[in-house]
Amino acid sequence: MPERVAITGVSAITPVATTAADFAAALRAGRSGVRPISAFPAAGFETRIAAEVDGAFDPSSFAQPRKAAKLMSRATLFAVAAAAMARQDAGLGSGDVDPERLAVSLGAGGMGPVDLDMLQGQHAAILAAAREQEGGYEHTDLAAFARAYRALTNPIQGLRGLPNSAAANVAIQQNARGPNNTIATACTSGTQAIGEGMRLIRSGAADVVFAGGTDAMVNPVGILGFGLLGTLSRRNDEPERASRPFDRDRDGFVVGEGAAVVVLERESFARARGARVLAEAAGYGVTCDAYRITDERPDASGATAAIRRCLEDAGADPGDVQYINAHGTGTKMNDQLETRAIRAALGAHAQAVAVSSTKSMIGHLVAAAGAVECVACVIALAEQFLPPTINYDTPDPECDLDYVPNRARPRRIDAALSNSFGFGGQNACLMIRRW
């Protein structure tokens, strides 16, 4: 019988709060973090709203020495800050764990340029090449592009786009010399990173894991990329009302940004150092649809199987679960199929379970989504309340569960599930249980 996995510290950098304590208060208040985009001039974009982290929060203040921040994208800076805050929350001093027994498991994104600087650099090089070349702009003269890129691009810039940048920089900052995993499974990254972190503890590969996810896709390419796929809300005139999972009039998700880290510890290790335990990371289920890149299986069988496996992994029955933090993006397809999966996996008990989407408040944090939502479950357990689904006005006949509409509710919670589903047919589910 492997030891249990304890959660001893959490952090959450979100569009509604930059500390876990403030995040808890925002969830209870049902506050929206969706606003007109401030990161770049979005006039002319079909979607001009997003959920951004407060500009007054400076994640680079967590990076030491200060020059280390030069090599970090916004997403990596969020991860570095989140890891530092989670470690502090766990009361884990530098001498408290053998660095080689300290692991990192982080969900990270990575679609094209990681920030505005990088985008502008590439754009400038293409323009310069186009000006130089003869015979019009129909093709890109790669030799001219190479000359312009060489002249305009700081060589160190590309390192900000390294896929494992977040996990590697967290390791450097935290002296974490054990296993170092980057999980890049789109919108399920954060959930899988925590699940795979649990496995590092159970297998004996580590005593402590900084597990979570980070993303920062509120940049022109991120907004355009999701927009072209038709997944984004265009409710530009009512930003705070735009993210409306499970509501009949939902029209897509709102891009969010941020990071969250949970500190996972082997039970005996946590006990030996007298750590305060917030909750148990009790179960993890993961599957792949093996069907389509963006469509889910119409019978939701992949998602259903992930939830079932998670329950099995935790040795739990459907009846043990009081709360589900849904993937709940606010797209037509996700919310219907997720409802179907919950019904299939929980059977008759689905009617008695409270299901909410915190994305209604913070938007979709993509690779960080599952990590932040895991922290929302830890908070719900610790404070015994159900975070609401805000903007829930009109029921959709295809979505017929208790979505905790609009107001947080007190509730005895012993176990919570957190769902994540992603492009590529990724399905993952975590169970967080009272310790």
Binding site: P65, R66, K67, A69, A151, N154, P155, I156, L159
Partner: protein, 104 residues
């Protein structure tokens, strides 16, 4: 940096190099002394020199190939440990060489 080569003094060049080193390492300019070792005293790592050369190109307004920097070090500091031997003065000497090369 002014375009007219004749107007640039060695003092100005040294001050510019100190400013660039401070920018690259994100430290206060007054921490960068003429005899500071860029690696041992100021904490530079290998990629900081790529950043340094890129920024020198920007302020000098001309291309500074990394091969020339490497050759300069081999000739200037034969057999020395770069960690302690590359000082602000050495970088300023290189900047001056590049500046004169362009003016010639």
């Amino acid at each position: 940096m002014p375009d007219d080569t004749a107007l640039v003094t060695r003092d100005e060049l040294t001050a510019m190099v100190r400013r660039v080193i401070a920018e690259v390492l994100v430290i206060p300019a007054d921490q960068v002394r003429d005899d500071s070792a860029i690696v041992a005293d100021l904490g530079a790592e290998s990629i900081d020199f790529l950043d340094l050369l890129f920024r020198l190109e920007e302020v000098l307004g001309r291309k500074v190939p990394i091969e020339r920097w490497q050759r300069f070090l081999e000739e200037r500091l034969p057999g020395a440990s770069y960690a302690t031997a590359i000082t602000t003065t050495v970088v300023a000497d290189f900047a001056e060489q590049e500046w004169r090369r362009a003016a010639a």
